[in-house]
């Protein structure tokens, strides 16, 4: 009996020693973490295929981890899943500006500081502007993965036919070109529109145009400064002037048949728009859907009073993080680290999805296939004047309020622009105060 007990004890000790030894081993190697994890991403169709490819590469170098990729996810779903307790291990959000504040400020995504310190990942490997939209008030709960930069697409054939050379560089030139490139039908309706700055049309929102006038949204204390910065009124007036020239109703009718933005019927791709504000991903879409289109890309024109800003634009991007409900955070961190920092992975995504890679190394990577149209966006992204929108705890409320106002102004429903902007400032400040949240300067 005693001998049996002794043997049992020895066996038990051996087992525990073995187990302890095993887990120590797995913690000390850099590829800690194993098991099944899920990764939710917003990509669909072709872009989702690329993502799955990249994840497959990850699984090859991390054979202990198996990843299930789910596409077509929106931020609503991520929030609902976190609340319901069945959130993925790694989540990918397209809308950093609107959601980083919520995810980081409320602990919905875990603070990555410890993991980053453990594995020696410094936030300086990411360009400065991407650092600001992936953290909130000092808490870094996400890493940037792929960014978007916005510029001007122009149809070279149409410009040549109208006798215009090169892309426009100032907004005055832009309006001039837009008027010359517009074609009307016999009944007066618009057949081809030079440029459509209608708020809400495709990528035309206030945030995407604001950098061209060098506009900031808030001062250091977080108060909204739209009425005290003359550039905002200038920008809105410029847009309205062009819209009134087309005729508001005619433009709305044109937009109704413009074709869905992410379908092959997109108006620029079909030759119904001569110039368009769009993101760098359009390069891949055109290559896949309308390779015969003869187009060029350039930075968006800037305010005549600020010629030095030329070459900059708006950038924002996707963020990836680990929801707090994940029960395999080690493995999730491995995937996160790979997707956000691995130069090869980012270069592959840059090549096939045509988004901007978000580490300084990846931006210089020789693996990125050269493409003169795409490289313009890399330059815009790297320009020191390129701006993004402030991150808040109220999602996109500040942007939505501005866009709603801009839309009303463009429709001619605002009599006094300056008073309207002052009111807008008040509304934004009230919304932020009501949420009891602060704002990233």
């Amino acid at each position: 009996m005693r001998r049996l007990a002794a043997v049992m004890v020895v066996l038990l000790l051996a087992l525990t020693a073995g187990a302890c030894g095993g887990s120590d081993e797995s913690k000390s190697t850099s590829s800690g973490g194993s098991g099944d994890i899920t990764f939710w991403t917003g990509f669909t169709d072709r872009e989702l295929g690329v993502m799955e490819d990249v994840v497959a590469d990850f699984e090859k170098t991390h054979p202990n981890i198996h990843v299930k990729v789910v596409g077509g996810i929106s931020d609503d779903k991520i929030v609902a899943a976190i609340r319901g307790g069945n959130a993925p291990d790694v989540a990918h959000s397209f809308d950093a500006g609107a959601y980083a504040g919520a995810y980081c400020g409320n602990g919905a995504w875990i603070d990555l500081a410890d993991y980053m310190k453990r594995d020696g990942v410094s936030e300086d490997i990411f360009p400065a502007v991407t650092q600001t939209y992936s953290k909130f008030e000092g808490t870094r709960c996400a890493l940037p993965m792929l960014a978007d930069a916005y510029g001007l697409y122009y149809n070279k054939d149409m410009l040549a036919k109208a006798g215009l050379s090169g892309p426009p560089k100032t907004v005055t030139e832009l309006m001039d070109y837009a008027k010359k490139l517009t074609v009307r039908n016999a009944d007066g309706s618009l057949e081809v529109v030079g440029l459509d700055p209608f708020n809400g049309f495709y990528e035309n929102i206030a945030a995407h145009w604001a950098p061209q006038w060098g506009l900031d949204w808030t001062d250091e204390s977080g108060k909204s400064i739209l009425s005290s910065t003359p550039g905002w009124a200038d920008m809105l007036e410029w847009q309205k002037e062009l819209i009134d020239w087309y005729g508001y109703d005619d433009l709305v009718r044109f937009q109704a048949k413009a074709g869905d933005e992410f379908s092959p019927q997109q108006a620029f791709e079909r030759g119904k728009l001569a110039m368009n504000l769009d993101g760098e991903w359009r390069v891949a879409f055109i290559a896949a859907e309308h390779p015969e289109l003869n187009y060029g890309t350039a930075p968006l024109p800037v305010d005549d009073a600020e010629p030095d800003l030329y070459g900059s634009g708006y950038t924002s991007g996707s963020i990836i993080g680990i929801p707090k409900t994940s029960d395999n955070q080690d493995a999730a961190w491995e995937l996160l680290k790979y997707l956000a920092t691995d130069t090869g992975a980012l270069a592959k995504m840059a090549n096939d999805i045509r988004n901007v890679p978000t580490t300084s190394d990846a931006l210089q990577s020789p693996d990125i296939k050269p493409d003169e149209n795409f490289n313009v966006f890399l330059d815009i992204f790297g320009n020191p004047n390129t701006r993004t929108t402030p991150v808040t705890v109220v999602g996109s409320a500040n942007q939505d309020l501005v866009d709603a106002f801009a839309a009303k102004y463009q429709a001619g429903k605002v009599d006094d622009l300056q008073a309207g902007l002052a009111n807008l400032d008040k509304a934004i400040d009230a919304q932020l105060a009501a949420a009891g949240g602060g704002q990233v300067p």
Partner: protein
């Protein structure tokens, strides 16, 4: 006794009592769905009545809709039912045809209508164009977006129509006979015999209609998103609720936006409490007022 009631008590508590109490509680907190609620007292209510500039457009849109859609639906349902009650041949066929739209799920119906009423490529405007009329911008116009939604509602009024039809065929024939013996024309018969007799159903239609108008969400959400979607951009920053120009921003839509998009669930709960109070008030008003014109057959007066 309590044991017999317990299924109902359980249901009432879980699906009505608990949410009501929690909504009332959340309305005094700041709750962003992702972390614990934080008590803020009356701050949400102060923002609701003084700070939020979108509340007044939302309230006026909902009131407009209530004032227009409720009579429109009731009148249309009554009119169709009246025709059906008089019809001799093909009665069954027409009843089915007029009822069918009510079976279409609201989202699918809205999608269909947005497609039909597309100002540029939709069949309706093409037809109007062939007749020489330039069709309006329907869901893309701030003036026409709410009427388009009213049209959508009228199209799907089958449920109400069947109820009206049942009430109409239930009007005792002898009342019509005695009325016509007294020399009443068909309009007078309608006014003095039909309407009073079916007045309980009219009350029903009005109360149900008002409550639906106060809760109107799905069709407005889908319509504004789709109509904006043909021209709007990626999820990034383009919030198309209320498109165009806040004309379809109804009170429940604003509630949804604040609660789920802006992480302001405490404020959304305060909005919900206000909606409850208003709905209660309106319903009480209607029912009090109804004693004057609703004729309940056989009731002791």
């Amino acid at each position: 006794m309590l044991a017999f009631l317990s299924p109902w008590i359980a249901g009432f508590t879980i699906f009505f009592g608990y949410p009501l109490v929690m909504t009332a509680y959340y309305s005094f907190t700041h709750y962003d769905l992702l972390s614990a609620p934080r008590w803020v007292g009356l701050a949400n209510y102060r923002f609701l009545f003084q700070g939020d500039q979108q509340v007044w457009p939302a309230v006026s849109n909902t009131l407009w809709f209530m004032a227009v859609a409720v009579p429109a639906n009731a009148l249309f349902a009554f009119g169709v039912a009246l025709m059906l009650s008089r019809a001799r041949r093909g009665n069954g066929f027409f009843r089915t045809v007029f009822y069918l739209p009510a079976l279409v799920p609201p989202v699918a119906a809205t999608l269909g209508f947005v497609y039909l009423l597309n100002p540029g490529t939709g069949p309706v405007n093409s037809l109007l164009g062939a007749l020489g009329i330039q069709g309006p911008l329907w869901f893309d116009s701030p003036q026409w977006s709410k009427p388009s939604l009213v049209l959508l509602g009228m199209w799907g009024v089958g449920n109400l129509m069947i109820i009206f039809l049942a009430a109409l065929v239930d009007v005792p024939k002898h009342l019509y006979e005695s009325a016509s013996l007294d020399g009443a024309g068909s309009f007078q018969q309608l006014r003095y015999v039909t309407l009073p007799t079916i007045s309980p159903v009219i009350l029903f239609a009005v109360v149900i209609g008002v409550i639906e108008a106060l809760q109107y969400f799905t069709q407005a959400y889908v319509a504004s998103t789709i109509a904006a979607g043909s021209a709007a951009g990626a999820t990034e920053g383009a919030n198309s609720l209320g498109y165009p120009l806040e004309s379809t921003l109804f009170y429940p839509i604003l509630l949804y936006q604040q609660g789920f998009r802006y992480f302001n669930m405490g404020y959304a709960s305060a909005m919900a409490m206000l909606l409850l109070v208003v709905a209660l008030g309106v319903t009480v008003l209607i029912i009090r007022n109804s004693r004057r014109w609703v004729h309940v057959a056989g009731a002791a007066r």
